[in-house]
Amino acid sequence: MKLDIQHIAKLANLHIDKEEEKRFEEQLSETLDYVEKLNEIDTENVEPTSQVTGLQNIAREDIAMESLTQEQALSNTKSQHNGFFQVKAILENQ
């Protein structure tokens, strides 16, 4: 199987250098080969289980509760401006 490691890295927002690219390609292929085992199991009429509790539609009353203060929420950021998180520009001017 040929894996486009740089494409996956782009989707995952990770920087992968040339050396890692080669290593990851081998290891990921190896792991994907291993999980092929699952095709030995017939799941034609089986429903998927995304979580095991059987709980559904868990909601609470829509009541405001105590939450972090603005100061607490910003306490770990390395970049803030006027009480907001500051991020790099996402859209550029044409």
């Binding site: 996956i8 927002n13 990921l28 291993y34 699952l38 089986v46 289980t49 509790t53 609470r60």
Partner: protein, 473 residues
């Protein structure tokens, strides 16, 4: 009297009878941590000031006549539980300077129960692994032989208990991360049913699997801690409304007539010494009145494949939030193991592959759940080895992209099905390394598996044997 060798139950009794103070107890443990840390590296952060403040506070409360389930008991907590005002790294440099502004529900419950926090224990970075070798703060060492690994991901937690650096520890398991290190370190490790203990505030790994639980010296300690941890939490929608029983009530009752299932596939490829010890332990359970029945379970190799897909996929999604904007460092700080897992998960969830991998794994998970349900119609619990080997040497996991899966092959099926399980020490290898047996129960069968474990422990009290580490051991 060596205070640091006390079990949780013993320490509580001495505190209640005012034979010792929490400050004395806490000082003994802080001293022990200081003495052994250069050799064990079980902790990422030790919090002596916090601990002594908590202890003085506990002593004051006790003097005022206040009684709480863990009042004045020193504990270590795995470094993936958010602790308000105390650095929480999940053993990754991405969170090197992260100081949570809130407590995980588990931490809040322990604080309300009166615990003293000794520090945060080392783990595989993001809990990705079964060795602690993927920690960005160096591997922890096994107290029974420091040339060996403690297992993981809750390796620091298990080592801290085995080395008497704490009364007990809080760990978390996604698939094996409590039971396997408990097995390698010769201590009791309980993985509760998924949903029994809240995940709120735990650095997320595999959200459909993560289960916090206690690692302790004795089985009774485990029951005591679970009592504090268990229960529904409005902050975790998957936490269960199922009523929490009194875990101590039936703990000491006998196991006459208990039906135990054993599957040959769970002994396949298991090291001879491990096999022999577990078979001996099964005979002990028989002697205690249990009947043994051979059962056929779905082969564990399929569980590895299911787990690999589900875990990587959920990891890639959970770790997507680490952007270095609101907290922590940016994504260039991820270590190799985390990157490898994020990459695989991203691939299996990417357009065109979802059905082939993730959805297929979810369907096989259903097959595994049904398989266990069928087995539990005939037997009450299932027992087998916890890990195929005793603790492996330092360096064993390096460059092995499936190391964790192979070390955890015997615990992954029950994790995928969200079942309860417990590791108890059943022997030692000739080289002096601990051997563990797991007892697996249906969902919400913690009361039962604790009772079975307690009965075994009474017959074979291996907790009396301590590693020869430290001058006072």
């Amino acid at each position: 009297m060596s205070l640091h060798t006390l079990s949780l139950t013993e320490a509580l009794k001495k505190l209640e009878q005012k034979e010792i103070s929490s400050v004395e107890l806490t000082e003994a443990y802080l001293e022990r941590i200081k003495e052994l840390e250069p050799r064990l590296n079980a902790f990422v952060t030790v919090t002596p000031e916090e601990a002594l403040r908590n202890a003085a506070d506990a002593d004051r409360k006790r003097a005022e006549g206040i009684s709480l389930p863990l009042l004045g008991i020193p504990l270590s907590i795995k470094d993936n539980f958010s602790t308000s005002g105390i650095r929480t790294t999940a053993s990754s440099k991405v969170l090197d300077d992260y100081i949570p502004p809130f407590d995980a529900t588990v931490v809040r419950r322990l604080k309300e129960a009166g615990m003293v926090l000794l520090g945060k224990t080392n783990m595989d970075a993001w809990a990705h692994g079964s060795s602690t070798e993927t920690s960005d703060y160096g591997a922890s060492k096994n107290p029974w032989n420091t040339a060996h690994l403690p297992g993981g991901s809750s390796g620091g937690a298990a080592a801290s208990v085995a080395a008497d650096q704490t009364v007990a520890a809080i760990g978390s398991e996604t698939a094996g991360s409590i039971r396997q290190p408990a097995s390698w370190c010769g201590v009791v490790g309980l993985k509760p049913t998924y949903g029994r203990v809240s995940r709120y505030g735990v650095v997320a790994m595999g959200s459909s699997l993560d289960s916090p639980g206690p690692i302790t010296k004795r089985v009774e300690d485990s029951a005591l801690l679970l009592q504090v941890l268990a229960g529904q939490d409005p902050m975790d929608a998957t936490s269960s409304p199922t009523e929490v029983p009194n875990y101590l009530k039936n703990l000491k009752k006998d196991i006459q007539g208990l039906k135990i299932g054993i599957s040959d596939d769970y002994f396949e490829g298991v090291h001879e010494e491990v096999k022999a010890s577990v078979e001996e332990a099964i005979k002990t359970l028989e002697k205690l009145g249990a009947t043994i029945k051979k059962i056929k379970l779905f082969h564990p190799k399929y569980a590895i494949a299911v787990y690999t897909i589900l875990q990587r996929a959920e990891v890639s999604s959970n770790l997507a939030r680490l952007d270095g904007i609101r907290y922590g460092n940016d994504r260039s700080y991820f270590g190799e193991e985390a990157k490898r897992r994020i990459m695989l998960g991203t691939y299996t969830l990417s357009a065109g592959y979802y059905d082939q991998y993730y959805n297929k794994a979810l369907k096989v998970r259903t097959v595994i759940i049904e398989d266990f349900k069928k087995a539990f119609q005939d037997v009450d619990v299932i027992v087998g080895p916890t890990a195929p080997t005793t603790a492996l040497p330092i360096g064993a996991s390096e460059g092995q992209s499936m190391f964790g899966e192979l070390a955890d092959v015997l615990v992954e099926p029950s994790s995928i099905a969200g079942l309860s399980g417990i590791n108890i020490p059943v022997g030692f290898s000739k080289a002096g390394l601990p051997i563990g047996m797991q007892i697996i129960g249906p969902q919400f069968a913690e009361e039962l598996i604790l009772k079975v474990a307690y009965n075994y422990e009474q017959e074979n009290p291996l907790y009396l044997k301590k590693p020869k580490i430290g001058s006072s051991a």
